[in-house]
Structures are given as C-alpha cells and as structure tokens.
C-alpha cells in the first residue's frame, strides 16, 4: 500500500496494465498453439479450417452481444438474468422491422428497440422499485418468451413466408465477400496446414472473407464498450455505481440515471444479439430460437471476469465448441484431447504455483479425459452439445475464487441511503 505513494507509481500502474494485457494475448496465443498441436496430432484439419472458424464467429456473435449486455448492466450494479428474454424480444423485433422496414439494418434497430423495452421493464423493477434482480430477471424471461410467442402469432401468419411461429426469407445485412490481397493469401497459407501459422491464417481468412457486416459491427461494439466504460468519465461514473453507489451519490452522480442507462443499453445489446440470430445465423425468425444463449452469454461474462477482453475470449470459446459440434464428428473427438491437454496444462501451472489440491484435481480430470479420448473412436452428439455448459461449470468451479465481480453487483440500492 505504502509503495503507491512514491512518485514512481504511474510507471507501476502502467506496468501492471501492460502485464494484464500481455496476459490475455498470451492466453489466446497459447490456446491457438494447443489447438494447432491437437489438429496435427489427430490429423483433423477441420479443427481450424476457415469454414469452422467462420461458423464459430457466427455462433459467437449472439453470445458476445448477450455477454456485453450483461457487462453493461452488472458494471452498473444490476444483475441481468433477463438477457435471455430481451434477446428473444430482439428476434421478433428484427423480423418485424426487417419485413416492414424493408431493410435489415432497420431490423437491427428494431431488435435493439425491443430488447431495450425488456431492459426498461427490468430497470423499472430493479432500480425504481428495488425488486430482487434475479426475481425480476426470471419474470422478464417469462414475459419475453410469452410476448414473442404471442406477437408472432398475432402479426406473422398473414405475411409472405410467415406462420404463427415463424417468419422466414428475411434479408440479411450485407457481407464483405473479399478483402483484395488478404483473403486469398490467408486462405492459401491456411491450406498449407502448417503448425500455428496456418491456424492464424485461417482466422484472418475467416475474418476477411464472406463475413457479415453485422458481425463486424458487433466486434466494434465490444471495443466501443470497452473504451466507453474504462476510458471516459461517463464510464467511470457508471462503474462507480456498480462498485459503491453510496460513494458515487455523495460525489453527485445520479445513480438511478446511470443504472437506467446501463440497463437500457444492456437490453438493446441483448436485443441485437437476438437480431443476429434471426437475420444472420438463420434465414428467419423462429419462436424460441435463442435456445438459452442469453444464459450462455451471462456465463461468458462471468468466465471473462466482468471484463471486455475476458468475455470476448469466453464467447469465442462457447462459439467455437458450438460450431464444432455441428461439423465433422471426428473434430469433436479431437476436442477431447484438446480439453485433456488444456486441463493438464492448467494442472502444471497450478503445480508451479504450489497449489497442490487444484493441481491434483485437474491432473486427474485431464488424465480421465485423455483415457476417454484414447479408448473411444467418437463422441455421442448429445455429449458434444453439453460441452459449453460443462465447460462453464468447470471454469466456474476452478476459477470462481479468482473472479471479482463489481462490489455492489446485485444489491438493491435506494437513493439517499448514503445518509
């Protein structure tokens, strides 16, 4: 504590910051290296083919939006379990406004609007009336699903491609087909199947070839959110409402207003995630097409320790496993080796840090999964579908103690309680 009073503190702060940033980069590169190794050992090039990465990006985007929505709300101290409901509302909004507005981008705005309405309900209940955040969120999810089912049945049956539970044939937002010079070169390198370099090339190729503009917007939104929340006075005040609203109030911050703004943005982002599902992931709207992605987004955010870089990594992990299970069954089997190696690597890391209990648990788990990999030829499809959920449980079980959520997250706050 006392060292920070020295004039050299700025350099210390920046050093810590640089270390933290390097850490995320290190984890990402390490993960790619392990994937690459598994790909070569098991001879499953589909593991990082351009097609797989493209599918992974499409699967990631909705989860990422939900996670980002969760980040906004929780950084302001409001737990938003209602992301799922807001996302569902977004799917209907995207379909309705795309059809009647004649432009998918109007649909995206419609999705944001509908999600925002869900966010408004949550904000009124939790901020103004101080209802328990989880209770309100559960109710929002009920209302979201009910409203969407009802609205679809009431508005879509008479439309072209519509039915009581669906509206298909919607236009997609445009896509970038090719970036001259980069796409082909990256594709060529990817096809060489070299260690590590081809995997990075696959990534670049997928990001520059036939990628939806909405995906790019979504990635931009993550960067924008990170900038707003951590680099602007507005963001600082918003986060102060999540850490210590009483202190924020004494400094003249209008806590209710900031919480409202945060939850509205949260709902809008989740809504856009729903819109992505209806406009890009599939060719139209279906009742219940979110399939719990709002919850997964919430898990990705926790996985990412309430930070933009972390939640991006979390969403990519979920998106990747989600994409992989729909592709080559052989690739899924290779995933087992990947998980086993990952666990063993973590076990070694714990051993180095002298955390023996954790090291033994993870070592045993890793060995068990390695045995499973070596003794079988394929993995039942249902088990593959479980992967994201089981991963989340593992990550939470192993990492919860190292996560730090905003200090006043989920605690109802009343104006004037600072005394």
């Amino acid at each position: 504590m006392s060292t920070t009073t020295k004039p050299s503190s700025p350099s210390l702060v920046s050093r810590v910051k640089r270390a933290a940033r390097a850490n995320w980069l290190f984890i990402s590169l390490g993960a790619i290296a392990i994937v690459s190794l598994v790909r070569i050992v098991t001879d499953t090039n589909d593991l990082t083919s351009v097609g797989t990465i493209r599918a992974a990006i499409i699967a990631t985007c909705p989860i990422l939006m939900a996670a980002l929505g969760g980040l906004w709300a929780e950084r302001a101290g409001v737990v938003n379990i209602g992301l799922e409901g807001q996302m569902i509302l977004g799917t209907w909004g995207a379909a309705y406004f795309t059809y009647h507005g004649g432009n998918p981008w109007i649909g995206v705005l419609g999705a944001a609007l509908l999600g925002m309405i869900g966010g408004l309900l949550h904000a009124v209940a939790t901020v103004t009336f101080g209802v328990d955040h989880i209770v309100s969120g559960v109710a929002i999810n009920l209302i979201g699903l009910g409203a969407t089912t009802y609205l679809a049945a009431a508005t879509f049956p008479d439309l072209n491609g519509g039915g009581p539970r669906q509206l298909i044939g919607l236009d997609s937002p445009g896509q970038i087909n090719k970036v001259p010079g980069i796409s082909d070169a990256a594709q060529n390198v990817a096809d060489k199947h070299w260690f590590f370099i081809s995997d990075i090339a696959s990534f670049i190729a997928a990001l520059t070839t036939k990628i939806s503009l909405l995906s790019l917007v979504i990635f931009a939104l993550v960067a924008l959110s990170a900038w707003i929340l951590w680099k602007t006075p507005f963001g600082l005040r918003l986060r102060s409402c999540g850490e210590n609203p009483q202190a924020a109030e004494t400094l003249g911050v209008n806590v209710y207003l900031y919480k409202y703004v945060a939850v509205l943005i949260s709902g809008a982002l989740a809504g856009i995630g729903g819109g992505f599902l209806a406009l890009v992931s599939s060719s139209g709207f279906n009742v219940g097409q979110t399939g719990g992605r709002g919850y997964i987004g919430l898990a990705a955010m926790i996985f990412g320790n309430w930070r933009p870089g972390g939640l991006l990594l979390g969403a990519l992990t979920f998106g990747y496993t989600d994409a992989l299970r729909l592709r080559d069954a052989h690739a899924v089997h290779a995933l087992l080796l990947l998980v086993a190696l990952g666990l063993l690597a973590l076990a070694v890391l714990r051993l180095v840090r002298r955390q023996f209990a954790g090291a033994i648990t993870m070592g045993l788990l890793g060995a068990a999964i390695l045995t499973w990999f070596l003794s079988t030829e394929s993995v039942p499809r249902d088990f593959t579908s479980m992967t994201p959920y089981v991963t989340t449980l593992f990550v939470l079980a192993l990492g919860t103690q190292r996560l730090r959520m905003p200090a006043a997250d989920g605690i109802p706050y009343r104006k004037g309680s600072a005394g």
């Binding site: 101080g130 209802v131 009920l142 009910g146 088990f383 479980m386 989340t392 939470l396």
Partner: protein, 363 residues
C-alpha cells in the same frame, strides 16, 4: 389493536390486488393494440370450463403446486434454485425408466420409482449445492448450466436405451398394474384426476409443517431473513445450503410423477417441459407461502387450460396468457416492494405521532 390488524390484513391483500389489476390492464391493452377484441377474450377466459377442462385444471394445479413448493424451499432461505427444470427432467426420466423396467410389481414399483425420482432430483440439485459450498459458485449460474446438461443427458440416455418407434423415442411403457388409479368426477371421456395428485397435498402440508413446526424450518427462515444473524446464532450455513437445495431438488423430482403414473405411462413426447419455470413463477406469485402458492397454482392452471378455448371463440392467440402470467409475477413482486415501503413509512409516522415522553420522538 383491532384496527391495526384490519389494516395489516388490508395491506397484505393490497399487493396481490394491485398485481391482478395491472396484469389485467396490460393484457387488455396488448390485445387491443393488435386489433383484437379484449371483451371477447375475457368472456372466453371466464366462461364456465367444460368438464374435461375442469379435470385438466385440477391436474395441472397439483403439478404446478409441487413445482412451486420445490422452488419455495430454496427461496425461503434466499437460494435461487433455477435448476428445477433439469432436476425434474432427469428425475422423471429415471423414474420412468425404472418403472418401465418392471423390476418390481404393482405398488412397490410405484413406490420405489417415486423414491428414485426424489433421489435423482436431490442429487442433481446437490451438485449445485456442493459447488456453492466448496467452490463459491453462484447457484443461479450453475443450476442454469445443469438444466441444459440434464436435457442433453436425458436425450442421450433416451436415444441409447429407449424404445424407438418411427421418429419418436420413449422409455418402456409402465405395466398396467403400476398405473395409479385416479378419480373420475365426470364421464370417463372427460378424463380422470390423477391419483398421485395427492402428492401435492402431502408436499404442501409437509412444507407448512416443516417451515412452522420444526427446528429446521426455523433455521431455514432465519437463514433467508438474515444470513448473518443465522450464522451468529449457530446455524451452519453450508449444511443449510446443502440440505435446502437437496430438499428442493427432491421435491422437484416429484413434479411430473402424477402425470407419469396417471396416464402418460412413459417418458417420451408426452413429457411436459417448462414446469420448473412455472413452479418458480407460482412460488413468486404466492410469496412462497403454502396457501399463496395454492392460489397461484390454481390461477396459472386455470389460465393455461382456459386459453386452449381461445382458438375456437376468438382470434386471440392462446400465448397471450403467458404475457398475463409474466406480468402478474413481475407486478406482484413490485407491488409487494411498494407496499412494504409504504407500510414502513406508515409505521414510522405512527411511531412519530405517539405521545412519547422521551425527547427523541423525531423518528
């Protein structure tokens, strides 16, 4: 004193009354907004249900009530068991698979199947409880994950060990001797009230006794109202979390059993999913009180069953009642919070007005 009692009863009923008014209002507005007639809707909803529907309402009330009690056991101590869905899915499958296997006959088969359902539900909830007590994982997230895992796990088991007929798959059907006889109030074609609906009565009475007449119930309520006070008075929080969670999961295991032994006969396409979330809603609506939840279960069962008639008499889609139910839940929790704040202010004022000798009467 008497006036005060009357007032507190009035205040207690105020919140549900507000909630009902709000949900009726919102439903009416939503129907009018898409150009349908709210009048037709309400007259269809409140028409006298046909005998067949009346039987359905009773059966669904029992099912919803069991689910609500399961949720309430956790809620009363501040545990959010969002995982009822996974717990009863897995438990229903286990009970159906065991019962269909016919290892025992008749009554013993039913009894052991029920015990298996309780054990499986409790064990699945126990995973979340252990993760919470040993690793500090929030039960909200872990139970949501366990819900999805349970669905895929059952899908796998069903595919692997189930009976495949055409495109559908189900567990082996129960032997007729294992069907629990029900009660037929009307004609046979109107259906029967499931025999195991009585489980709802057992669970409800048991919940009341547990809460109000046992040491454990006291500890449970104390932990819910003030975890710190509970800890200070010697209640072991970890033991409470594990017990309450497993109890909640065990009751959740019973949710679908009345239907299973009352006619469904096997776990397959007839399985009713979503009951876990309905249970959570009903528990919230009934404020986790045994009687309140009975009212909530009846209301939800009535709305859900009556909404099926909408397609015949109106152009309002039946899913409208899901909005009504969701709004009712949200309105009830908001209304209770508002009434609580209002009551606190009233009490403060009445304390302030009392002719107190002390100098500090400014509260």
């Amino acid at each position: 004193m008497k006036a005060l009692n009357l007032r507190s009863i009035g205040l207690a009923l105020l919140a549900p009354a507000i909630a009902i008014v709000v949900s009726v209002l919102v439903t009416t507005l939503v129907i009018a907004a898409v150009g349908s007639s709210p009048g037709d809707f309400w007259s269809a909803m409140f028409s006298n249900p046909l005998p067949r529907l009346r039987v359905n309402i009773v059966n669904q009330t029992a099912t919803y009530y069991i689910a609500a009690v399961a949720a309430a056991i956790g809620f009363r101590m501040g545990l959010f068991n969002i995982g009822l869905e996974g717990q009863y899915t897995l438990a229903s499958y286990a009970a159906a698979a065991f019962g269909g296997g016919a290892y025992l006959s008749g009554f013993a088969n039913v009894l052991v199947s029920i015990l298996i359902a309780i054990a499986v539900g409790a064990a699945w909830a126990g995973v979340a409880a252990v993760l919470k007590t040993t690793r500090g994982v929030s039960e909200v997230i872990s139970t949501i994950m366990l819900n999805s895992i349970a669905v895929f796990l059952v899908g796998y088991l069903l595919n692997r060990y189930g009976v495949h007929i055409g495109n559908s798959v189900r567990t082996t059907t129960l032997a007729p001797s294992s069907n629990v006889p029900g009660f037929t109030p009307y004609l046979a074609r109107d259906g029967e009230i499931w025999g195991l609906s009585l489980l709802a009565v057992v669970v409800g009475v048991g919940f009341w006794v547990l809460l109000n007449k046992t040491r454990f119930g006291f500890d449970l309520r104390a932990s819910g109202m003030s975890p710190t006070a509970a800890l200070a008075s010697g209640i072991n929080p970890n033991r409470m979390i594990i017990t309450a969670m497993m109890l909640s999961g065990g009751v959740a295991g019973l949710i679908w059993l009345p239907a299973l032994f009352g006619g469904a006969g096997a776990y397959g396409t007839s399985f009713q999913s979503g009951l876990g979330f309905i249970g959570i809603s009903v528990a919230l609506l009934g404020r986790n009180r045994p009687l309140g939840m009975l009212f909530g279960a009846l209301l939800f069962a009535f709305l859900d069953t009556q909404s099926n008639t909408l397609t015949f008499s109106t152009n309002v889609p039946p899913s409208i009642v899901q909005i009504t139910e969701g709004i009712a839940v949200l309105a009830v929790v908001v209304a209770f919070e508002v009434v609580r704040r209002w009551r606190a202010r009233l009490e403060q004022r009445s304390v302030g007005q009392k002719p107190v000798a002390a100098t500090e009467a400014s509260a």
